[in-house]
Subunit: 396 residues, 4 copies
């Protein structure tokens, strides 16, 4: 088929040309004496994105899932009790991993379309006088439902209870796109991956840890080797890695960090909000509903959109892909067939979003959804036009 | 600014990923014994695109303008009388070149928004009993106004008058995108360039010639050296070039010809018509007018769109570029400030066009044009949806 | 510094242009219905390279080290007794991992410069009447010392003892470059990575397993989640992955497998032997010794070369890198300062090897090693010339 | 065939990775208001490389041959008398072009292997009291024979005779690699191309002109249009071009100019001399002779090497290409079959040159040339080692 394929899944995201150029390179010697010039700067740059001044960041050749495993196996021991909540496919998988790695998981299931139940967490923590809970988990952005949770709220609960549990955050689809403050919010293990806000291909898992997490790692008995902090720390301190790193992605990461610094994190968050608002205006204009139940849960990186009764959302996604060369996200697990998703994170601007909405609108109408042609795109572009592109606003 | 820059000028056009990959390569020896394996296939493939079985094709390291010069200097002599028409910036420049190269130009000026005056040509040719007119020029697609002319009609006039003049066609923005038939229409010199329907960067000028043109070159006294047929023929016959060819572009051309053959010329023409119709539906929905006066002049590769009185089209283009990262074409010469252009040729699909229309719509409203938000995009996407993507229709 | 940097470490290796082109691409949807068209072919192609018809191959977003961990945690349980040998940095690290993952390791230390002690293995296995040994480990090619071991010999020992232990092979720096036959040799877990014979950037770990290994995984109690066979099998069977795969590398892998199939595995092995022989001729001509003690241990993918007493091999590597833009491998662990290494595997030909030898020769002389200028390169190029390039011999 | 193809022709030359990255990009709008930010800097940067402060530089989408034509047609008129000399294939072609463009050429043929006969030029100019000679031509570096001529000497002859003729220099294979000083030497038209010292693909012709040449253009009657100064000047002054420029190459040029500025012209000249000396040491060690008759003619960018009687140099080149994947230059015209050439210009370092010499040595011996294996490479690498890499010397 002619023309570009359009990518609007919530990761992998679109790669900036500059990053793509930087990854078009011959292989290099990861033991060269000049290699640390690259890597030490990456650690520093990543820490700025995580807003983690006091701790350190690990870069694994893995997916974000690998960084999840690293967090758990390095700082916890089999049998440790942890507090988790489940309200979408990715929080579900995280619980599943915790159980398989031998943790004693206290799971709170809440409705899909809501997020971390901050109040319940607070109660549980307050009730846990013996501090049997070793860690509290928070899926910052549930990619399956387009729900953003209140990490600062979870921290408040911990503080109110004066509870020493570690705070784990899954920021795979939020960090670098949505406001996140590791130090300020007292996050001990923050997980992300290369293929979302970092605008790189999949292949790197990031784990940003606090001093407290590093301390916990000294006694934690989780079995780990590939993901071991120790090996990494020993080598990273000199700018090297315990095994062959994915140098091509590291070169790309250098450029994506440069782009992030040039645009500025706050401007990036504002841009994501601006673009997400355009999508939400379109959803309203179509007369459809988001999976996210309330405004406070609205994600600025992905929107999961309910299709009307009787329509199969998987069919909408299939049409968009096969007829309009546009990748949208399917509904997963409990919301399979019921929602489709538009990823709106990373290297993105207004006109790209209009393309996504155009494809979605055509596919929806093809599948029998009644909506006025151009209604969604029209609402979005009027929003974009009036709210002004953030970049321009900033430049002016 | 974040996200991709959107390119909707009528050339250079968007490059397919496959072509871009093929041009990402080290340099090579253009005198290697294996080099003709590449080049002989390119000549053959280009001839199929021009539908020129009997003649030959020249590939110059130049722009299309260079191929214009090659056509004139190789087949005509200073002082030769030629029949031309002028109705846009590019037909204007062609006349200018002819004059500067010493030809005696008989120019017919027609209104911008119309094309080659086939009837007047026929009259002039019929009247030219002494065959003083040595060549007749036809701008197949006037890129400045979005007007496609009737090459077959010009041939009819020549045949009716039994006139031996050469027929020159400027197909820079048509060949490979709009129906063109060199042999059938008896075209002697057909000019194109790499950066339009051939979906490559600028840098190659193509000149496809008939046996009659090759014959004329034997006696023509136009001064030429860089663009000389002789040097090219002597070297091309063995697969080589008289001076260093742009090997990187030639490698890209191999892939673009493969893509053209895979999609099929007729399917490509249908796709361009389908996409152009979507743009025209949008223009209608906006309540605006094309520069092309009548349906028969409508170009399937570029639309020049009149803005309402009191609006500066240059401002629309500027907004689209600076605020929405989208390149549209400005109005040139007589229509400067009055029209803006959307290029819709090359490696393009429906969702890309929706992006162009979205940017245009936002920029138009920003500049004060009254139109209902989403009206143009909505009209286009309903057309795209119902007329079905050509590629799918074909595949089914 | 001007000119290309020359890479002759034993991995990452040089990337073919075709692979590099294929990895220059936008991101794609790893849940698209067309994605399995890519992935199912990769599994099939990898199995051909491993010569594993009956089992299956796993592709992890990880380094080869990750595939090591996958092999151990999926098929063994903590406390299981395993038989290993140690004679270089990589066999050392493998032992270390086994111990950290809780295995009961029976280590046989042999001199660095020798390989797996096949006879001792055979004795131990014969003596293990109760089959307490659950797995036998064989480092096929010890990258630190340039020693290739006899996998078939290890299998013979198992068969002679009629011993049911699993056979693990580390083929990171051998598979795809040196003869390896999983089915024929009865290898249960064969580990490799993308950045050596597969001619890709680092970032993929390959684990090729037998049915027996898959069977063992059903009861093995090693803790695993990221590297779990189960999740992979469930998803891979349909062409998908349990978490985001490194699609860019998978696209590269498609092309590298195509290149491997086009050249042919036997031709590739012959080429590696041909090039390695050239390096060994040079070492002889220099009057230096390989770390590999005997001809039977000579590796066709990497040569570790002893520098004379009083010379620091690290200084040789440093000179080569800083003065001649050439990456050679340093000596690791016990042979640090004593050997330097030339990697000669992957996408390589005679003239590239001559470059490596030239750089090594200059650096050696700079460091005070007495050798006749041009002696090593001269010996190599005379070998290359007379032994004929394999590719040409084959084509003729 | 496996491994990289090695390119040692005297152009196109090897492309730096940075340049290759920069050319891996989507197309762009060459009429965008931001485009001059790129182009104005290119004009300025090129002027620094030509050491032309007072005049201006033209960038044509063409080969260097096109820039030759531009120089002649813009500043001279048919019938003008010019003084040229011929001593190789490229000076031969230049004379041929001058004749075909209608100039009255006074040709001095000197032996191939010598260069511009500065004394004869001086005599002719002194004798030309009526100033009938309008231009004097000097091939700075004859690529076919590896001969560098004395441009400053030609200028002296002009000055001594107080002669107003224009001075034309063909610097296609010298500028950016060998000392060249347009202003100081009073050069009026200096021609170069992208694919040599500028380390880019072929496709751009550069013409750097003095104010005197610009003045001459006002009255010169050479027929030109594509190559016309006027159109270029009018557009270039604002950062634009009269027809679509090769934007991809312009983006590459930005990076190659940056690399040139970073290394420094004098350091680049020194590096070329250093590498060329290595080649010459090898030729000596082989017992062969350069085509260049005397040391003063030795070119630092290309060496043409005589093969012994009875050997066909074309066969040497063929072997190198087919058996060793290495492109060397053939002998052209009068020296066909007698010499082969090693291009040693552009993005090049010592180890690359050793590769070229290795391939040449193997091919020479394959063809029956008696020389001691490793003799040439050995001589070169000892030179490289002792003379120190220029870059390092400079850095220290």
């Amino acid at each position: 088929m002619a023309g570009f394929t359009h990518l609007f899944i919530p990761g992998p995201t679109n790669i900036p040309e500059q990053v793509r150029q930087a990854m078009n390179l011959p292989m290099e010697d990861m033991r060269a004496s000049t290699f640390p010039e690259l890597t030490l700067g990456l650690f520093a740059g990543l820490k700025r994105v995580f807003k983690n001044e006091s701790g350190r960041v690990f870069i694994y050749p893995s997916s974000g899932t690998g960084a999840w495993e690293s967090a758990m196996t390095n700082t916890l021991s089999p049998g440790d009790r942890v507090l988790m909540s489940r309200f979408g496919q990715f929080s579900h998988l995280w619980v599943d991993m915790a159980e398989r790695l031998g943790l004693e998981v206290d799971v709170i299931d809440t409705e899909w379309g809501t997020g971390v139940p901050v109040e319940i967490y607070a109660e549980r923590l307050a009730a846990d006088k013996e501090h049997r809970i070793k860690a509290v988990f928070c899926t910052h952005n549930e990619t399956a439902t387009g729900v953003t949770s209140d990490v600062a709220g979870v921290r408040k609960g911990l503080d109110a209870a004066n509870h020493p549990a570690l705070l784990f955050v899954d920021g795979v689809s939020s960090i670098g796109s949505i406001d996140f403050r590791q130090d300020e919010w007292g996050v001990d293990c923050a997980v992300s991956g290369s293929q979302k806000g970092f605008m790189l291909p999949a292949g790197l898992g990031f784990l940003s840890v606090s001093q407290k997490a590093l301390e916990a790692a000294k006694t934690a008995k989780g079995r780990r080797c590939y993901f071991s902090f120790d090996d990494m720390i020993r080598n990273n301190d000199n700018g090297f890695f315990p095994y062959t790193p994915a140098t091509q992605l590291l070169r790309g990461l250098r450029v994506s960090l440069d782009l992030i610094e040039a645009e500025g994190l706050e401007a990036i968050f504002a841009r994501h909000h601006h673009l997400a608002e355009g999508v939400r205006k379109a959803v309203d204009a179509w007369g459809l509903k988001l999976c996210a139940k309330e405004r406070k849960w609205h994600s600025d990186t992905v929107s999961a959109i309910h299709v009307p009764e009787g329509i199969d959302s998987a069919e909408v996604v299939k049409r968009a892909y096969h007829k309009y060369q546009t990748s949208l996200g399917v509904g997963l697990n409990k919301v399979a067939g019921k929602v489709f998703r538009i990823g709106h994170l990373g290297w993105l601007n207004e006109v790209m979003v209009c393309g996504a909405l155009s494809a979605a609108e055509m596919a929806l109408r093809d599948c029998g959804v009644k909506l006025a042609p151009g209604s969604g795109v029209g609402a979005a572009l009027e929003h974009f036009r009036l709210a002004g592109p953030v970049a321009v606003a900033k430049a002016a």
